[in-house]
Structures are given as C-alpha cells and as structure tokens.
C-alpha cells in the first residue's frame, strides 16, 4: 500500500494487531486506554517503534522515542498518521 493511502482506520488495525501481539493480549484494547496497565513498558514500545517504521516506511526522531508518546493505541495512530502526511 502506498504511504498516502493509509487512513487512520487502516493504521489503527495494524497498530492494534501489533500491540496485541507484543503484549500477548486476546481481547481488543480501547484506543485511549493506557497500555501501561497491560504491561507495556519502554522496551516493548521500542519493539513497536521498529515494527511501525518497517511497515509504514517512516522514521521516528530520537527525541520522539519516549514511552508516553506511545502510551495508547490512539497516540501511536496519531503519531504514525502525522508522519505519513506529505
């Protein structure tokens, strides 16, 4: 899929699948739910960063690599979506 063709719904679907895999969750997660309560930590979030960069062909700046920037599914979707805009 071309980077301009990703909409927020597609991004959310991918993000959610990666989060569930990373945290070994069976159930869906509300977009605004704090993932720390599911056991998300900075190490797990780095795994997700690598997956997002690879899948969406984007690069996060060093200063963005803070856990709270990826604290919820919505945070991740918004950040990825922002990177994909021309």
């Amino acid at each position: 899929m071309n980077r301009t063709e990703w909409n927020k719904e597609h991004i959310e679907g991918y993000v959610l699948s990666q989060v569930k895999e990373q945290l070994q969750l069976q159930e869906d997660v509300a977009p605004d739910y704090e993932l720390a309560s599911y056991g998300m930590d900075s190490f797990a979030s780095m795994n997700l960063v690598v997956a997002f960069e690879t899948n969406f062909n984007i690069v996060f700046e060093d200063e963005e690599l803070l856990f709270e920037n990826f604290a919820t599914v919505q945070d991740m979707v918004d950040r990825i979506y922002g990177k994909l805009q021309p």
Partner: protein, 293 residues
C-alpha cells in the same frame, strides 16, 4: 540466579506505610548505581540498602527477614514484602513466561482456601494468586521475605525535611560517571547497549524527585523557581530515557548504525553533569527557606 531487578522496594514500603513522607521515601533513588563485570550487569544496591536502614530507623519501623513461608506472618497480622521472579507472575504480562526479573510484591492477606491477596504497584495489580504460583515465584529467587510490624511513628513535615536534607547532602550524583565509564570501557557495543538497557528504570527514580518537588511545602512566591527545577529534572530524565531507548534499538536492529548516536548522547550527558546536583541544591535551599521561615 543473576538477574535484573525491576523494582525499588521503597515503593512497596510506601504501600505498607502510606504515612511515610514522600521526601524520605523517594530519596533512596539517588543511590541507584548500575555496575557490570565479566559475568553480567546488575544494579549495586548497597547504598540503597544503607539508606533504607536509616529510613527504617528514622521512622521507627521494625522489620525482620524470614526464610520460612508467609502464612504464619499473615495470620499474626504482620505485613509481608515478598521477593518474586516476575517470570512466574501472571499479572506481569511483559515478563510472565518470557523474562526473569526480581520484584517485590505486597502480600496483603491469606484468603480462605489457601490463596493470597497480593498487591503490586507496577505493573498495577490487586487480586488473588494461588499458593502454588506464588510459592514458585518466590522460591525461584531463594531470598528471604520481609515481615513488618504494622505500626510506625508519626512523621511531620519538619522531620521529613530534616531527613531529606541530610540524605541529599550525603548523596552525590553518579550518572555522568556511569556514562564516562561506559564510554571508555573496552566492552563490545552490544554489551554496552545491554548495560545501558539495564538502566531503563532509572526514570522511576527521577520521577520520585518530581514527586518530592510537587509535594514540598515551599514558600509562596517561589512558583517560578520550582517550575524551573521541575523542567530541569524532566529534561534530564527524558534525555537519558531516549539514550536508553536508542541503545535498546541497537539490540533490536544491530545492523543499523545507531551506536554513534548513542555515543554522542552519552558525551552530552557528561556535559550536563552539574544539572541535577545544582537542581537538588536549589531545592534544598527552598526547603531550608521554608523550614527557617
């Protein structure tokens, strides 16, 4: 077993004794010291433990370390801090069945049927755990549990400020020295990144200092100075966390040339050596101004 600890059990002490003033309860975080040798990486807790002993004495908290199982202590109304391997703890989803890590949990109650009511602050959990699982998690470490009498002395702002003043003066900040030693060491890049990754919980300790600042009964009209101090700490904390996360990326993607960026960040940390000690001195001045005013 040589394994990482993802805890600072002063946090659990706060759970058991919520009246302990946050100043004193958080101050041990300054004593955190990452070390490594030919065998592995760990956190040197000697200064933490020394600080903790002073803290317990200061607040009149009686503790004993026990090697038997916890049922009798719970039946006697004592509070229990139980060292556990998170590999066996289902509520710790990141570690459960995947990674070994030492951790303290609070055991609140022996429930009918022989299970236990446990509490953990991070990862947050309050609920039941069966005896077999809890005992396996505890036995994996081979460490004694801590048993506390459920009474303590009254803590006042004045006594807490007095305590924290002494501890801040006695402590010195070591993270720049850590960065310097890591840069000049002859370890491989991957080993250096592993060592750095081991400091990823350092932000919890600096967060403790933020809590101290927020809770301080500081003089009116000092809001700007406090905000500045808060910003200094957060900036320092975030800089270090980014460095650690970059090192984690090196471990995840060793083919990418990221180590140079990590190295540059470590060198920047050397330059900001005085930032936090200065912030701590400024904080102390404000506390003293209040205490004397």
């Amino acid at each position: 077993m040589n394994l990482a600890w993802v805890d600072c059990y002063i946090d659990k002490l706060l759970t058991l004794f919520p009246d302990i003033h946050p100043y004193a309860a958080m101050i041990d975080r300054w004593a955190f010291k990452p070390v490594w040798d030919g065998k592995g990486e760990e956190v040197d807790l000697s200064r933490v433990l020394a600080t903790e002993e002073q803290l317990l004495t200061f607040y009149g908290i009686e503790r004993s370390c026990e090697n038997d199982w916890i049922d009798e202590a719970l039946r006697s109304g004592h509070l229990v801090l139980l060292p556990c391997d998170l590999f066996y703890m289902p509520h710790a989803k990141v570690f459960y069945g995947k990674e070994h890590a030492g951790h303290f949990i609070v055991v609140r109650e022996l429930l009918p049927g022989g299970s236990y009511l446990i509490f953990d602050d991070h990862p947050a959990f309050c609920g039941r755990m069966d005896r077999t699982g809890l005992k396996a998690a505890h036995d994996a470490l081979g460490l004694p549990y801590q048993r506390f009498l459920p009474e303590m002395l009254q803590v006042t702002d004045a006594s807490a400020i007095g305590y924290v003043s002494r501890m801040l003066k006695a402590d010195s900040f070591f993270l720049s020295d850590f960065a310097r030693r890591l840069l000049v060491s002859e370890e491989t890049t991957m080993r250096k990144c592993l060592i750095l990754k081991g400091t990823r919980h350092f932000n919890h300790r600096l967060n403790g200092f933020i809590r101290m600042v927020d809770a301080a009964p500081l003089p009116s009209g000092k809001g700007e100075a406090v905000s500045e101090l808060r910003r200094s700490i957060i900036q320092y904390m975030d800089d270090w966390r980014v460095t650690v996360n970059l090192a984690t990326r090196v471990l995840l993607q060793p083919e990418l040339p990221i180590w140079d960026r990590v190295q540059n960040r470590l060198e920047n940390h050397l330059e900001s050596e005085a930032l936090l000690p200065n912030a701590a001195v400024r904080f102390l001045e404000l506390l003293h101004a209040e205490a004397n005013g």
